[in-house]
Amino acid sequence: MTRFIVIRALQTFLALIGIIVLVFFMVRISGDPTLFMTSPLSTPEETIILQKQIGLDKSYAEQFWIFISGLARGDLGTSFIKRIPVAEQLGSALPNTLRLSLPSFFIGTILGIALGVLGATKRDSILDNGVKFLAIMGQALPGFWVAIMAVLIFSVHWEIFPAAGTGGIEYYVLPVTTMLFFMLPGMMRLVRSTMLDVLDSEYIKLARIKGLSERTVIWKHALRNAIIAPLTVAGMMLAGLVNGAIIIENVFNWPGMGKLIVESTFGRDFPVVQAIAVIVAIMVLGMNFLVDIAYAYVDPRIRYERG
């Protein structure tokens, strides 16, 4: 098991380095940010001074070294536009994003599993058809549009919930609910279909032969096997969550990472873009790594084989 973890950790680290290099150069293809930061009337000298200030006069190799060595020390650099440390900007944006996505993630996962299991066990019941309908709608309607419609109905028309901004609990209702739209359908569908497969298996038949109650059969024997599938897509769920955060934060004007990255890409604020991309990459790779280990934990076949 330890060997398995070490090898996976090493692979993850290599992938991370690759992604960091990719992000660094991709950001730089986009052109000179000083063009956006100076007025058309400013002189070339002024531009050069500006380039010097933010370190763009150095060669790519030097810039990369500064970036990567800073990263190793935990220094994410300084924003071109706001001229404050990136870490500070992220420090205020990240908690906002988490405040939005964590509740969605937990509600989505728990609700997704519960509804998926219920759908599979009560096939073709009203509940199952409701679940299926929700899943179909959730996968067909664009999230940003659902968000806007929610605003139209609940904020503009009925004026129940605020349309944008942060604050008390009422500010969370619309963003979190629409965020669920990105999470729930896929989860429900997956759990439902794996659950159906598992329920068809011989060992479930044997569990019933033992005389176990349906509840034990489903929640003890079937779920533990069915839960492996959602684990394998946990990575994809994370991706969905980030996508969701970008869209939802922009719709609801929520000052999180999603809004920050859109603003800073349009402003060519390299250090911020880089930092966010790297943080997301770490999250993604870390998630994959954890999933592999969790997978090994749930499935004894893997745990022992590598032991």
Partner: protein, 322 residues
Amino acid sequence: MSNVVLQVENLHTSFFTRLGEVKAVDGVSFYVREGETFGIVGESGCGKSVTGLSIMRLLPEPGGEIIEGKIILEGKNILELSKKAMRAYRGKMISMILQDPMSSLNPVYTIGDQISEAVKLHQDLPDNMVEAEVVSALRLLRIPDPEIRTKEYPFQLSGGMRQRVVGSIAMSCRPRLLIADEPTTALDATIQAQYLALFDDIQAKTNVAIIFITHDFGVVSRICDRVGVMYAGKILEAAPTRDIFKAPKHPYTKALIDSVPRLEVKDERLYSIEGQPPSMFRLPPGCRFRPRCPVAMDICGEQEPPEVKLNEDHAVSCWRVK
């Protein structure tokens, strides 16, 4: 006559599919006595497994349905039991061994977990006694080092060992009736011989009644006391094993036994039954074996033959048999 444990009367089980109704079991009657092994032999799709699942009341849902008949276990028609009452019967009164040992154990729980689950459910025992029960169930199936096995996962055992574990689960509460659905088909020849020998042993120790479902006459000859030969949803002939082999009355039974190659006899040419079993969606009128029967008469295509009792244990459904 010793105790009849199970009596099945006129059992009809159907599947409702998109293409129509399939009468998988179409009027089957038989009984099993205490300490006796009753074999159900037949080819794939003849309804033998569905018969087993009907007795367990574990037909695949939706689609499978017991249409009529009685299944009387120890004097009680279990088709009248509520779902909950039936659950209390399963594992305690009736149990079952499935065909494929590789897939019939839950991969994520240890052997001990899977056996103790049944023990705890049906017997009111303190925890330390449960442990002992689990070990004794493993011993009953002659599993070496039972104390170590309880802590292992299914994937750590060979196919033969897994099938013994499945047997231990089935026998853990000492049921009155055990249904074995092709339990040795997936096993190698010498392992199969080991496993079959266990059945004699179990029966001697527990006096359990066994229904043994198989397609293999070799297995039948080894362990069955009586046999029912099933074809396209019906038992065409039921008799003590010896009579089935030595004096078969139904043309299908005769043909089937003649077409099996035998190790003891060097045949130059095997007898072969022409054609194939009928589609379960379109059964022929009259006797269902008529299209392949070498001795068919006019009446066979018109009316279904009634069951004729030659003696208490030997019943045949054929117009040729009076």
